[in-house]
Structures are given as structure tokens and as C-alpha cells.
């Protein structure tokens, strides 16, 4: 199928044209002035179907008569309401009709599956959305603020020197205080580190050099001396690794674009006058660029 045949916009325009045709037919002066109410066989069939769907059985004759009567009653009152202009200033009616149009075009966009080229293009165009956060592998020595009180900072500084000592380094496995989550962390994202140590700790960690003991770094619990083994900078995964996520984003974006494009074509048919010049300009521009 040719691409333009799948264009949602084309669908909208066709539906729009059909609606207009219908409107002119219904709005023919002769029919409008007509005071007849005709309940067609199709109408009755529809009532039966609705009834059946609700109650899982056919209506009795009495029930059917009731349905028809209710329908006639609604029609009479509806026409009277129209004649009195009751549809004009009613928020509910207005909103409901606006919604009806929205629902008509909302779901038409799902038609075509994007190609891999299109997905790749989207990924290239929106790298930030799919970036993988940095990963840090580190070990730490913990000094409990509760245990050491005022001495915690001097203890940490002394320990740091000892850990980094070339001649006689001390063993980090036995240094410092016990820590519940352990001492060795592999390939942790900033989010994971924040979850265990708090976000200030995660932020500080990102500034430390790898390959030697650094710190002290404060967490909610006390001070930590940290040895970063390895840090991977944020990277962009390949399309093959995250195809589904890209696909969801592309479809969501298309839906939104199509919806605003449709609204734009409708809006273009109107001269919008807001009696406050600056606001009018910005309103129209916002709508058009969305």
C-alpha cells in the first residue's frame, strides 16, 4: 500500500468530508421542518441488540414497546430542546461533542509499524531519552559516626593515609566498621548508589579519581573511604538492545503529532479572535507548534 494511503491525516479528511455530506443531507430544509418521527426497522433492531447485549436475552413484546416509547420520548424532548436552543450554552453538551470528535480521530494512528530505519533515526535524534546511566565499581571502608563521634573525621583521615601507604598499606578488608550492605559494589548505577547511601554520596562519588583510596565521603551513616575500581561513563545502547522502548516512544510521538496535526487543520478553518492581541498571537502559535 502506498504510504500516503496510510496517512492518518487523509483518514481524518475523508471522515470529515463524509460528515459534511451527512450534515447537508440531514440539514435539508424539508427534513428539518418535518415534524414526523420515524422509528425505522433498523432502529428497532439496534434496540433489540443493545437489550440483548445487556441482559443476554431477547426483550419481550412489552419490553420492546417500552424501549420504543422511551426512544420516542427522548426524540421529542431532544427536538424540543434543540428548538429552544438548550444545546447552546450547556458545558456538558459542548464538552461531550468536542470529545466525540477527539475520540473519532484518537485511535486511527496505530496503523503502520515503523521500520528499523525510522527507529534508528528516532534514536539518533533523541539520544538523551535512551541513555544508560554511568556505572561505578568500588569498594569502601566505613566509619560509623555513631560509634566514633567527634573522632570520626580524624580517624578517617588517618585511615586514608594508611590505606594509600606504599610501604605498608593496611588491609581494607579489616579496616573500619561493619556495614550492613557490604563493602564491594559492582557496576552500580547512580540510582542504585543513591538508594543505599543517599544522593549526596552518589554525587560525590562521581567526582573521585579511580585507582587509589579517596575521600572521606559523607553518607547519612558516617564517613566512607572509597576505592573506585572502574567507572563506565553514560553510554548509548544500540537499537537492537532497546528496540521495544524506542518503538513505544515512536508510536507515542506519532499519535501525538497526528492529533495535533489534525487539530491544526481544523483550527486553520477558523479566524480566532481573542480580544487581547498579545494573548491571541501566542495562543495560536502554541497550538500550531504543538
Amino acid at each position: 500500500m502506498k504510504r500516503w494511503l496510510q496517512e492518518p491525516l487523509l483518514h481524518f479528511l475523508l471522515i470529515g468530508a463524509a460528515l459534511f455530506a451527512l450534515f447537508y443531507q440531514v440539514a435539508d430544509p424539508e427534513t428539518v421542518s418535518d415534524n414526523r418521527i420515524v422509528i425505522s426497522e433498523q432502529d428497532i433492531d439496534r434496540m433489540i441488540t443493545l437489550f440483548e447485549r445487556k441482559l443476554q436475552r431477547l426483550p419481550t413484546e412489552q419490553e420492546l414497546n417500552g424501549l420504543v416509547e422511551a426512544h420516542i420520548r427522548e426524540e421529542v424532548l431532544y427536538r424540543e430542546a434543540l428548538a429552544m436552543g438548550l444545546d447552546q450554552d450547556d458545558t456538558i453538551v459542548r464538552r461531550r461533542m468536542a470529545q466525540k470528535v477527539e475520540f473519532m480521530f484518537n485511535d486511527l494512528v496505530d496503523a503502520a509499524e515503523p521500520t528499523d530505519e525510522e527507529l534508528q533515526q528516532y534514536l539518533d535524534g533523541n539520544p538523551d531519552k535512551f541513555i544508560e546511566s554511568a556505572r561505578t565499581s568500588f569498594i569502601h571502608v566505613y566509619l560509623s559516626a555513631d560509634e566514633r563521634g567527634d573522632k570520626v573525621m580524624t580517624d578517617a583521615q588517618q585511615l586514608l593515609v594508611a590505606l594509600n601507604s606504599k610501604q605498608n598499606p593496611i588491609d581494607s578488608d579489616t579496616a573500619g566498621d561493619p556495614f550492613m550492605f557490604g563493602y564491594t559494589f559492582d557496576a552500580q548505577s547512580d540510582h542504585q548508589i543513591s538508594g543505599m547511601f543517599g544522593s549526596d554520596f552518589a554525587t560525590s562519588l562521581a567526582t573521585l579519581a579511580a585507582g587509589s583510596w579517596q575521600g572521606p565521603v559523607a553518607s547519612g551513616y558516617g564517613l566512607h573511604l572509597v576505592y573506585i575500581n572502574d567507572r563506565t561513563e553514560p553510554w548509548r545502547p544500540l537499537l537492537s538492545e532497546i528496540r521495544d522502548s524506542v518503538l513505544y516512544e515512536v508510536l507515542a510521538e506519532r499519535r501525538q503529532l497526528a492529533n495535533s496535526a489534525f487539530y491544526k487543520t481544523l483550527l486553520e478553518r477558523y479566524d480566532v479572535i481573542v480580544e487581547q492581541p498579545l494573548m491571541q498571537q501566542s495562543l495560536v502559535e502554541t497550538e500550531l507548534t504543538q
Binding site: 447485549r53 470529545q99 548505577s189 540510582h191 543513591s194 547519612g220 558516617g222
Partner: protein
């Protein structure tokens, strides 16, 4: 990789034929086999919520929730979203996992009603609800819908039957969203739903959690509570779960909640709500399908009640005891024993003695039950039970519910809770298995890390060890387990418990161990022991520990960590142990006082605190118990 495959081929070809399913079943007994053997024990807590409602839930939608499944997951994983009432919302820290548990009854009804779907508007009731919601009377409509639902009086025409198209597509949408956001290793999204059984307003709700993905979960729609296709009887839910597992080869479990609104029928001692006696089937099925209980959430804390635990100074925590779910029937003292977790754990021992199985052998978690699509449980970031109570200057003073039983005010909503899971990795399988083996605990919103082990030979040295969890697992069992068989020479069980405060939260006041037991005459008892606490406090002559103090500055909604401890740890030996008596032990960790959400609201909006609202709260964690069974 290539070389490995080639090299290993001959060896692979010589492997014995795969064992049949039966021989495997003997190896992997139960749903979750030991995760410790050969693959390392869990070293991390994963934080989540098993119980979040979106606009797909009919009542949430009626209350004005316009946020769907996408926003619920986006918010939970840490994105900023705009709430239904237009307030920007973001978590202080993302959750690690989430299960959206929309009500199965009428799932997807509300988005359709709001969208004005023809099949709903053609009905007078649907039309009436629609018009009134459009006219801004959503909260009244919601109360009406919940009232009708609680009493089983929703018109048939307003029920989505599970075999109808709209229901099926709502279930598919639920599954699809979980699949979309499930990102193993980073963020786990569970497929699930809430089975919202109400017996004349008495709450028997359960959430149902799937270990599985779309391939299995799609094969059957979620189970509902209205006959003929659904049932409000838990026995029927368990049957459905069993059918699901047989048909799909999948795994599901159920988590009950809000016994406090069940008017005594959540944890029966002798007979079910329908008069049917508890029997072997009931107790084995309940034990099999319900490994966890949601002990704390927005609609009240469910650990215990001051009437049941008069000796427990922390028992009256965020208590909701006005009546049942819709407060159509007022609460009486006689109902309370069938409602709270601690009493249920005790009843379980008595029932086990009589029927051979303990039906209430559950682990404990917290969850939100939020109906805003926003899983918020932190006091300074609380978005309320439903969209009618999202942040705003007047939300505290509204009556939440008024009936003949009395009035419950909106300030009484509890900013709680969270589910903490000790799992090996952040995946559906790993987290589900941890819940199934009960290596879980609940908190009222804070993220304190808590370890709890039971064994026969823990010593002070084990806690001083640099890796206390190593000795925890090698010398004992973690929370949720059964004590191993008592060695001949052992006199009393020992428990190693340690806790680390929330990295951005308040210090800890104390750790307590709560023991429940069954005496020789078949009577149950409980006792609360303070086992570790901050500072130099000494218990008085009655054994009562002096309070930790209070730094809450009510006017400025602030507090300081100048009291309490960031870590607490101890090894405790039961001083009153009797080897002939069935018993359970769980730990409760209590924070220092911090401002309650209402105090934050008063400060931020510059409004008066409601007269009866407490200014401070005592956040806490409840671990799953460890059980002692004589002779085993």
C-alpha cells in the same frame, strides 16, 4: 563464547536425558527453592508497592484520577508526572518495582465511562454518573459507586462481565503496560490485580501477583467477585489460582489487606464469614496461596490494636477502627481479634494445633493502596488516598467518610507503606520468589534496611563480624523461615537483628522483638521485648525503656537527627523459652519522632493543623516472623 560452545558440545551431548517433571519436583520442593545454595544470598533490599490503583479502577476514576497505567509506572521509576489535580509530582527516590493492582471488578469501566462510550451512556445509570462527573460531582458519584459496590448493589448494566470485550481489553491493557515498563535488573513491573471481595461492606480484599509475563497471564482474565463468573469467597479465589497454574504452568500468589476494615472476618478462628467451619482444605489452601499480608497502608495500620495489645506502648499507631470498609456497620471490640496481623499470627498457632496447618503463616509487607496512580508513602510527599485528596490547603479538614458509625476525617489517612524485599536481583522471578519464601518486611514509608535471623547459636561475635549476614545465613534462617530443629544442648533460640536507617531519613529509636506463643492449655500470648536502642538509656524497674525524645519542630515541619542512632544491632536470646510451645518472633524497628504528613501540609499551606491530628509520627518496620515448631 564461540570457542566455548564448540568445546563443550561433546560434553553436552553426553549429558543424561533431562529428568522428568516429577523427579524435579522432589528437588525443588515448594515454589521457591533455597536461593542460597550455590548462588549467593540476597544482599540488597528492593523497595516496591504491590498495591497501586490507576484510573482503570472504577472508584479511582470516579474520584477524579485521570492518570493511567503509563503515568503510574513512570512515576514509580522516578519520572516527574503531573497529578490528576495538576500538581507536579516526583518521588524523592524511585521505587525498584511496582505492581499495579486495579480492581478486577469493572476493570477499565471508568475510562470508558469518562470517554462516554456508547454502551454505557445508553443506560440511565451510566448516563446519570457521566453527567454528574462532567458537572464536577465526581467525588459524590465515587462514593455512590463504592457504596453500591460494597453492598453488592451495582446495577448489572454497570458491571463489566469478565467475558465481555471491554473487560478483556482492560485486562490486556494492564498486561501490556506491565510488559512495557518491566526492565529486568533496573525496574520490575508486575502483572497483577485486586480481587475486591466485600461481604456487606466487610473487607476481604486480596491483591493477586503474577510471577509470569504476558504469554501466561493473557490466557485467563483476572478473577472477579460477582457470581456467576466470579465469587466473593476466598476459597473460590484459591481454586481460580490453582486452575490458572494448572492451565498455564505459571505462578501466582495472593496478599490480603485491611483486615482492620473486615469487621472481624479477615482471620477467622473457627468459621468463615459464611458460617462454614475452617477445615483442612481452608487452612492448607490459605497457607499455600497467601504467603504475605499487607500489614500497613493508607487506610490504617494493621499490625495490632491497643485493645488486643494493651501492654504495647506503640500499639495505637494510625488506627482505623470506625467500622468496616464503607463504615456501614460500626466496629465492636469483639471483632478486633479477627482483624490484626499479630493476633492472626497467634490464632494461626492455635489453628495449627487443631487442624495440622497454620493458615496464617504469612510474611509482612506494606503497600500504599493509593488510588491516584502515584505510589507515595513518604510523609513529606504524600498525594493521598485518592485524587479528591491530592495536596491542597483544605484536604485535611474534609470528612473522608461520614456514616451512622461516625466520621473519619481526611487527616486520618496514613502516609504508608512500602514493601521491602531481600532478593538476589531486581526481576519478577527473584522478587516473587522472595515474597513466596517471606524474606520480606513492611515499612510505613521509610526505607530502613532490616535484617533478622533466627538460630540456636548466634553470639555477640556474629554481629561484630564484618559480614553479619554471612553468619546469619550459615548459622540460622532469615525472616520468614522456620527455626531449624532444636539441638539437644540448646536451651533457647537466639536472634540476630540489625537495622540501618533510611539514608535520607530519620534515626532509629529502638528495635523490638515481638513474640507470640501458644501455651499448654491452648491459649495464646504475646510479649514485646526492647532488644536494641539508641544512647545510654536504661530500662526502669518495670523494664520500660525511657522515650527517645522528640526534636520535631511543628511550626516549621522539621526535625533533627540529634537523637537516636543510624544503626542498631544485637543478638538476643529468648529469656522465656519453653521448647514445648509453638511460637513466632518478629522484629519491629521504630524511628525517632518525625513530622506527620499533616504537619507538613499545615506548614506548607500556612493552615491550622486539625485539632486531633498528631503532630509527629513514629515510622516503623515490621519484619516477617520466624516460627518455632516444637519437635521439628
Amino acid at each position: 563464547m564461540f570457542a566455548f560452545s564448540l568445546g563443550s558440545y561433546p560434553a553436552w551431548a553426553q549429558l543424561p536425558p533431562p529428568p522428568d517433571k516429577q523427579s524435579f519436583a522432589d528437588v525443588y520442593t515448594g515454589k521457591s527453592y533455597s536461593p542460597y545454595a550455590g548462588r549467593g544470598f540476597p544482599s540488597r533490599v528492593y523497595w516496591g508497592d504491590t498495591h497501586l490503583h490507576t484510573a482503570m479502577s472504577f472508584d479511582a476514576g470516579a474520584f477524579g484520577n485521570r492518570l493511567g497505567l503509563d503515568e503510574a509506572y513512570q512515576f514509580a521509576r522516578g519520572d516527574e508526572v503531573v497529578s490528576s489535580t495538576g500538581v507536579p509530582a516526583k518521588l524523592s527516590r524511585p521505587l525498584d518495582w511496582l505492581m499495579v493492582a486495579d480492581h478486577s471488578d469493572n476493570m477499565g469501566f471508568f475510562p470508558d465511562l469518562l470517554a462516554g462510550s456508547q454502551h454505557l451512556l445508553s443506560d440511565p445509570t451510566g448516563r446519570d454518573w457521566y453527567d454528574r462527573i462532567q458537572a464536577g460531582e465526581g467525588v459524590d458519584v465515587a462514593l455512590e459507586i463504592i457504596g453500591l459496590f460494597s453492598q453488592g448493589k451495582i446495577p448489572d448494566s454497570m458491571m463489566y462481565s469478565p467475558d465481555s470485550m471491554p473487560y478483556k481489553s482492560a485486562w490486556q491493557a494492564t498486561i501490556k503496560a506491565a510488559e512495557k515498563y518491566n526492565d529486568p535488573g533496573k525496574f520490575t513491573a508486575f502483572i497483577g490485580y485486586e480481587w475486591t471481595s466485600l461481604i456487606k461492606g466487610d473487607n476481604l480484599h486480596r491483591v493477586v501477583m503474577y510471577r509470569d509475563g504476558a504469554d501466561k497471564a493473557s490466557q485467563m482474565v483476572a478473577y472477579t467477585t460477582f457470581p456467576p463468573l466470579g465469587s466473593p469467597n476466598p476459597r473460590d479465589l484459591w481454586k481460580w489460582m490453582s486452575t490458572y497454574e494448572e492451565k498455564t504452568g505459571g505462578d501466582v500468589l495472593a496478599i490480603a489487606h485491611n483486615g482492620n476494615l473486615s469487621n472481624g472476618i479477615m482471620f477467622p478462628l473457627h468459621e468463615q464469614y459464611d458460617g462454614k467451619n475452617l477445615d483442612k482444605t481452608y487452612v492448607t489452601e490459605r497457607a499455600k496461596w497467601e504467603p504475605a499480608y499487607e500489614v500497613t497502608q493508607i487506610k490504617g495500620d494493621g499490625e495490632t490494636h491497643p485493645f488486643l495489645s494493651p501492654e504495647d506502648e506503640f500499639a495505637d499507631y494510625e488506627t482505623w477502627d470506625l467500622g468496616n470498609l464503607d463504615a456501614s456497620v460500626a466496629k465492636t471490640d469483639g471483632m478486633l481479634a479477627g482483624e490484626y496481623a499479630r493476633e492472626a499470627l497467634k490464632r494461626g498457632l492455635a489453628i495449627e494445633k487443631k487442624l495440622g496447618t497454620n493458615p496464617y503463616k504469612f510474611g509482612m509487607i506494606g503497600s500504599t493502596d493509593s488510588h491516584t496512580s502515584l505510589a507515595t508513602a513518604q510523609e513529606d510527599n504524600f498525594f493521598g488516598k485518592h485524587s479528591g485528596y491530592e495536596p491542597g490547603p483544605e484536604r485535611m479538614t474534609h470528612p473522608f467518610m461520614t456514616t451512622d458509625a461516625g466520621t473519619l476525617y481526611a487527616w486520618q489517612q496514613v502516609s504508608s507503606g512500602l514493601a521491602a524485599v531481600w532478593a538476589t536481583e531486581n526481576t519478577r522471578e527473584s522478587i516473587f520468589d522472595a515474597i513466596a519464601r517471606k524474606e520480606i518486611y513492611g515499612t510505613t514509608g521509610s526505607r530502613m534496611a532490616v535484617r533478622f535471623f533466627g538460630g540456636w547459636e548466634f553470639t555477640e561475635q556474629d554481629i561484630k563480624n564484618r559480614q553479619p549476614a554471612f553468619s546469619g545465613y550459615s548459622k540460622g534462617v532469615p525472616m520468614g523461615g522456620d527455626l531449624s530443629k532444636k539441638p539437644e544442648n540448646a536451651r533457647s533460640p537466639t536472634f540476630m537483628v540489625f537495622a540501618l536507617r533510611d539514608p535520607v531519613g530519620a534515626n532509629l529509636d529502638r528495635i523490638q522483638i515481638i513474640k507470640g506463643w501458644l501455651d499448654d492449655k491452648g491459649k495464646t500470648h504475646e510479649k514485646v521485648y526492647d532488644v536494641a536502642w539508641s544512647g545510654e538509656r536504661k530500662p526502669d524497674t518495670n523494664g520500660k525503656l525511657p522515650p527517645v525524645g522528640n526534636t520535631v519542630d511543628v511550626k516549621n515541619a522539621n526535625w533533627t537527627n540529634t537523637i537516636g542512632a543510624s544503626e542498631l544491632a544485637t543478638v538476643w536470646t529468648d529469656p522465656d523459652f519453653d521448647p514445648k510451645q509453638k511460637a513466632f518472633y518478629y522484629a519491629r524497628v521504630i524511628e525517632i519522632p518525625t513530622p506527620r504528613w499533616s504537619t507538613y501540609d499545615a506548614f506548607r499551606y500556612g493552615v491550622e493543623l486539625p485539632k486531633d491530628a498528631p503532630t509527629a509520627t513514629r515510622e516503623r518496620a515490621y519484619t516477617s516472623p520466624i516460627w518455632y515448631v516444637p519437635g521439628s
